[in-house]
Amino acid sequence: MIVVNTETIPGYHVTSVLGIVQGNVVRAKHMGRDIAASLKNIVGGELKGYTELLTESRRTAIERMLSQAQELQADAIVNVRFSTSAVTQGAAELYVYGTAVKIEPIVQASMVS
C-alpha cells in the first residue's frame, strides 16, 4: 500500500477514487510518565515519554486507516492529513484521514522533465 500526503503519486495515475478512509486513537498518559515528565519539565528539554506516546498513537491510527483501505481493496491512500484534539485533561485524540484510490503504473517513461 502506497501512502502519501500529496494529491498525486509520481509514476502512477489514479484510476478510481474509493472514498475517505480514517483512523483515530485516544491515548492517555500514564502516571509514571506524567511524574517523570513533570520532573524533566523543571529544566526544559525533550520529554521523551510524550514523544513516544505520540509516535505510538500515530502508528496505531495509521494502522486503523490502512485496515479500512484494505477492506476497500485500495492500492494507495493519497492526501493524508492528521489532526489532534485534547478530549479531556491528560487525554488526546489523534485522527488521521485520507482518500483511498486505485492506481496503475504509467507505462511509458514520460516523467523526465
Binding site: 502506497i2 501512502v3 502519501v4 500526503n5 500529496t6 494529491e7 498525486t8 503519486i9 509520481p10 509514476g11 502512477y12 498518559k29 515528565a37 524533566k40 519539565n41 523543571i42 529544566v43 526544559g44 528539554g45 525533550e46 520529554l47 521523551k48 510524550y50 514523544t51 506516546l53 505520540l54 509516535t55 500515530r58 495509521i62 492526501n79 493524508v80 492529513r81 492528521f82 489532526s83 489532534t84 484534539s85 485534547a86 479531556t88 485533561q89 491528560g90 487525554a91 488526546a92 489523534l94 517513461a109 516523467m111 523526465v112 522533465s113
Partner: protein, 168 residues
C-alpha cells in the same frame, strides 16, 4: 529562637529562588546544546530538497514508490521561562522565551523528518506539514509551563540529482 525564624525565612524565600536559578541555568544549557546539535545535523541533510507544495516537483521514478513519513517531538518549557511567560502575560507583548522553544521544537521535528528521508534513500520531501498537539490539555489554562508537542508529516520521493536543485 530568632535564629530559627531567620533560617526558616531564608529557606522559604531561598528555595523557590534557588529552583528558579537552577531551572534557568539548566534551561540555558539544554537549549544551547540542542541548538548546536541542530546546526550540525542541518548540514548533513542540506542536500535534500524540501518544500510544502502538493505537486511532486521534478519527480523521477525511483527504486521505491513515494512514501509518507511522519515525526513528532515534545519539548518542555523550563520553569524559569514558564515563570517569565506568566509574568509577561500581565503586560502583554512578545513572549520571546516561548518563541525560542517553539522554534527549536519545529526545527527538531523537521530535522527528524529529513533524517528519515535520508535514511530511507530518498532525496526530496514534498508537502511538509507542521501541526501542534495539545497533549497536556490546555496547559495555559492551568497556569503551568506548557509542553510543546509538534507533529510533522511529508511525502518522500526522488528527484533527478542534476535537476534544478542548486545545493547538490
Amino acid at each position: 529562637m530568632m535564629d530559627m525564624d531567620l533560617v526558616f525565612g531564608l529557606f522559604v524565600v531561598g528555595l523557590p529562588l534557588f529552583m528558579l536559578a537552577f531551572a534557568w541555568a539548566m534551561g540555558v544549557w539544554i537549549s544551547n546544546r540542542h541548538e548546536a546539535d541542530l546546526a550540525q545535523r542541518e548540514l548533513a541533510v542540506a542536500r535534500i530538497l524540501v518544500h510544502n507544495t502538493g505537486r511532486l516537483q521534478d519527480a523521477v521514478a525511483g527504486p521505491q514508490p513515494p512514501v509518507m513519513i511522519t515525526s513528532e517531538v515534545t519539548l518542555g518549557v523550563d520553569h524559569f521561562r514558564g515563570f517569565l511567560g506568566q509574568w509577561k502575560s500581565l503586560f502583554g507583548g512578545q513572549v520571546r522565551s516561548y518563541q525560542m522553544v517553539l522554534d527549536r521544537a519545529r526545527r527538531e521535528v523537521v530535522m527528524r523528518l529529513l533524517e528519515q528521508t535520508d535514511a530511507m534513500g530518498y532525496n526530496a520531501l514534498a508537502n511538509l506539514r507542521i501541526d501542534f498537539a495539545d497533549i497536556s490539555g490546555s496547559a495555559l489554562a492551568r497556569r503551568k509551563a506548557a509542553d510543546i508537542s509538534v507533529l510533522a508529516s511529508g511525502t518522500a520521493y526522488y528527484v533527478a540529482t542534476e535537476s534544478s536543485h542548486p545545493k547538490s
